[in-house]
């Protein structure tokens, strides 16, 4: 069973919401639709389940066009879990889940699969409050009731619109574990719009990054969630790293305090000495290159998160000639070089520093708490700005004081 979205255009009230969107979801796959608010994630799901009619393109479930099927037939193929629903009337959980059987039960007759409702409730872990009224449940429980209702439809394609919205951390993980398990069941393709990029990356096999009604990229989470693409889609500064616990990409939003430092700065570090400097330079808006640094070191990790170009050397080894020569090119291209004080003597740093037109050494032997570093490094930015006006060959700062002349 596959869900195939081909070049779908959707207009709502005369405004184009989706523009030539394509996506494919196969058996046992969990595909996350990610993107900023208003990008068209929900509309894409509504086009998939037939609620919204595309003006061009088609949505196919095993080569059958969803929009040409009667709604009964469509609902046996695609089940949807809405983001929120007016469960205002006091139906019990069981009655609500029974509504998922609507397309299977004849108008005059009984359910051909009388156990379907119980099974769906078991699977979505809501059987224990089957006879309670839905309005008395918490947000996470309601979400699972809607999931059970969708499971009762016994459709091979399952769509979820923001299943974790407004849930606490525990329920977010619980819901997504459940959804992950549903995708692993045979013959089920699952699509979920998820606003939390970390959770999306962690649970989805593939991501579809949507922005402005277009698919920016789709594929494996680590390929899709690059700092550049996330920045383009969300218009926000992010750092992308790897979660040490799960190995999945993590996306950390950064405060939007980016300065207008136009300089290109090369940072000499090595292990973890340059990390606070890199953070500060990223905030200042500089174009930053780094290296050489040890692969897998904190400096390397931080540079990757910010999308900075870095020259790396294998762990526990000194830079070879090739690395030094590449770093020298970067130093040559930079307007200024910043040396992390602790790392002045590491590798070829001293040589590289001497090759620079202007250099700042920061934080030599000073306390390197984050707060402490920040105090120093704000003045680092000032120092760099000053360097730009009146280039000085050496400005050495130690003990936390940056000399700016």
């Amino acid at each position: 069973m596959t869900l195939d979205v081909r070049d779908v255009d959707v207009e709502l009230g005369g405004t184009q919401i989706l523009d030539a969107v394509s996506a494919a979801v196969g058996d046992g796959r969990l595909v996350g639709v990610v993107g900023p608010n208003g990008a068209g994630k929900s509309t894409l799901l509504r086009a998939m389940n037939g609620v919204v009619e595309p003006v061009a393109g088609s949505v196919l479930v095993d080569d059958e066009a969803v929009h040409e099927l009667p709604s009964k037939a469509a609902s046996r193929r695609i089940a949807s879990v809405p983001q929120d629903t007016s469960l205002g009337f006091e139906f019990t959980v069981r009655e609500t889940v029974e509504m998922g059987r609507h397309a299977h039960v004849p108008r005059f007759g009984s359910d051909p699969d009388p156990e379907a409702v119980e099974r769906a409730m078991e699977r979505a872990e809501v059987a224990q409050f089957a006879d309670r009224e839905v309005t008395s449940l918490s947000g996470g429980e309601k979400q699972r009731v809607l999931l059970a209702r969708a499971l009762a439809q016994q459709a091979p394609v399952l769509l979820l619109d923001e299943p974790t919205a407004s849930l606490d951390v525990n329920h977010q993980v619980r819901t997504l574990e459940l959804v992950r398990g549903l995708a692993d069941d045979a013959d089920r393709a699952v699509v979920a719009a998820i606003h939390d990029l970390d959770l999306a990356a962690r649970y989805c096999d593939e991501l579809v990054l949507v922005a402005d009604g277009r698919v920016l990229d789709s594929g494996r989470p680590e390929d899709v969630l690059t700092p550049e693409q996330v920045r383009e889609a969300f218009d926000a500064r992010v750092a992308v790293g790897t979660d040490p616990a799960t190995g999945d990409p993590t996306v950390t939003p950064l405060p939007d305090t980016e300065g207008d430092l136009a300089e290109r700065v090369h940072v000499l570090g090595g292990g973890d000495a340059a990390t606070p400097i890199l953070r500060e330079l990223a905030d200042a808006g500089a174009t930053v290159t780094v290296g050489p640094v040890s692969e897998g070191s904190l400096d390397h990790e931080t540079a990757t998160r910010f999308g900075f170009e870095a020259v790396t050397v294998p762990p526990f080894s000194t830079p070879d000639d090739a690395a030094v020569s590449r770093a020298r090119d970067l130093v040559g291209a930079a307007d200024a070089v910043v040396v992390a004080g602790d790392a002045v003597s590491w590798g070829a740093n001293e040589t590289l520093r001497d090759a620079a037109d202007a250099a700042v050494v920061v934080g030599d032997a000073g306390p390197r708490t984050v707060a402490g570093a920040r105090v120093e490094l704000v003045s680092l930015v000032d120092a760099l700005a000053a360097l730009d006006v009146e280039p000085e060959p050496f400005a050495v700062a130690d003990g936390g004081n940056v000399a700016d002349d």
């Binding site: 709604s71 609902s75 809405p82 006091e90 009655e95």
Partner: protein, 367 residues
């Protein structure tokens, strides 16, 4: 199965309550007749159609002339014959029962239509006349009363036609590109009701000597009830209610919202058309024989929803029987006093305070 048992119990229970209210009502009047005698007389009055004669007649339409019309005459036989004094048999069978049965049918019709409208609009303030049915019927009836030459089809036919024209008009006004948004329908209904209310007032102002009859019609009445009214109304209400009951599950799913209903396999627009059309016809049948009787269609579905829950498979039949019982009881009050009251006054007089009581007890929010 549990739900099924519960549905059956409530349905049978409310039906028995309706029968009890009807029989009790038949004992009340200027002549006291004991309950056992009333029951036997009612069984005697029970009749089934035994023969039907079809014949062609004609109806005079203004500007068109005679239009041939197929009419049917039904012959009835009573299978039962208990010994009841003739005078009591006459009072129960020909005077009290037609009015009581019509009251039950009208009450049931209004309650069923009100239940459907509240579910359809997902709004506990909806009632059967929300899309202009009663206002349309009022214009038709009042015009036929005040200007019989203008609408020479009789009050009931004019009211019925007016009701359906108004409902269909509201539907057309609110429909665009094959979609009928519920909110638009609600607003179009309010506007059309106001407009038709103006016409009704205008006609009443110029109705001269017939003003009393027109006002009486508008307030809701059952005092002119006869078996012919029952013959006209009962089949429409029964068939319509059965159709609506067949759509009870769709109505449940629609409560979750139209998009959800669509993804769950309901043909939303077609279902809405069926629900609107059938409940409008049912309401029109009731209003055209009994006038505008308020509050039955609002209160009864409310109360029943509090008692049996929101599942329309239970709510529809129980509301029907409870609506019938409520209107029969109200009409018994209306006719038992020293002077006959229009029953619409009684339902509103009892219904409104009861509604406020519910509101104050915060039970209404639970709907």
């Amino acid at each position: 199965m549990r739900a099924y048992t519960r549905a059956s119990a409530w349905t049978v229970g409310t039906f028995l309550a309706l029968v009890a209210v009807m029989l009790t009502s038949a004992t009340i009047g200027p002549v006291d007749i004991p309950l056992d005698r009333v029951a036997l007389a009612a069984l005697d009055a029970f009749a089934v159609p035994s023969a039907a004669t079809f014949y062609v007649t004609s109806v005079v339409f203004p500007a068109i002339g005679d239009v041939p019309w197929l009419a049917v005459d039904l012959a009835y036989t009573s299978p039962l014959d208990f010994a009841v004094p003739d005078q009591q048999q006459l009072i129960v069978g020909e005077i009290r029962l037609p009015r009581i049965v019509l009251g039950a049918v009208v009450g049931a019709a209004l309650a069923v239509a009100g239940t459907v409208m509240q579910g359809f609009f997902r709004n506990p303030m909806a009632d059967p006349s929300i899309i202009g049915v009663s206002s349309g019927a009022a214009v038709g009836a009042v015009t036929a009363i005040a200007f019989p030459l203008l609408l020479p089809f009789g009050i009931q036919v004019s009211a019925f036609a007016g009701a359906l024209v108004a409902a269909f008009g509201v539907y057309l006004l609110a429909t665009d590109g094959g979609r009928t948004p519920v909110a638009t329908l609600l607003l179009a209904g309010v506007a059309v009701q106001t407009f038709l209310g103006a016409i009704t007032s205008y006609v009443i102002v110029h109705s001269g000597d017939s003003i009393r009859e027109a006002m009486y019609w508008l307030m809701g009445h059952l005092h002119l009830a006869n078996w012919a009214d029952v013959e006209l109304t009962l089949p429409i209400v029964v068939v319509g209610s059965i159709v609506l009951l067949a759509y009870a599950r769709d109505l449940n799913v629609l409560l979750a919202g139209e998009e959800d209903a669509h993804t769950l396999g309901v043909e939303v627009e077609r279902t809405k058309q069926v629900l609107l059309a059938v409940s409008s016809v049912v309401t029109a049948a009731a209003v055209s024989v009994a006038g505008v009787i308020g509050f039955v269609g609002l209160i009864v579905p409310h109360v029943m929803r509090l008692l049996v829950g929101p599942d329309h498979r239970i709510l529809l039949p129980t509301s029907a029987f409870a609506g019938g019982a409520f209107l029969v009881a109200a009409d018994t009050f209306a006719r038992a006093g020293p002077a006959e009251l229009p029953v619409g006054i009684v339902t509103a007089f009892v219904g409104a305070p009861f509604f406020l009581y519910l509101l104050r007890n915060r039970e209404v929010h639970a709907l």
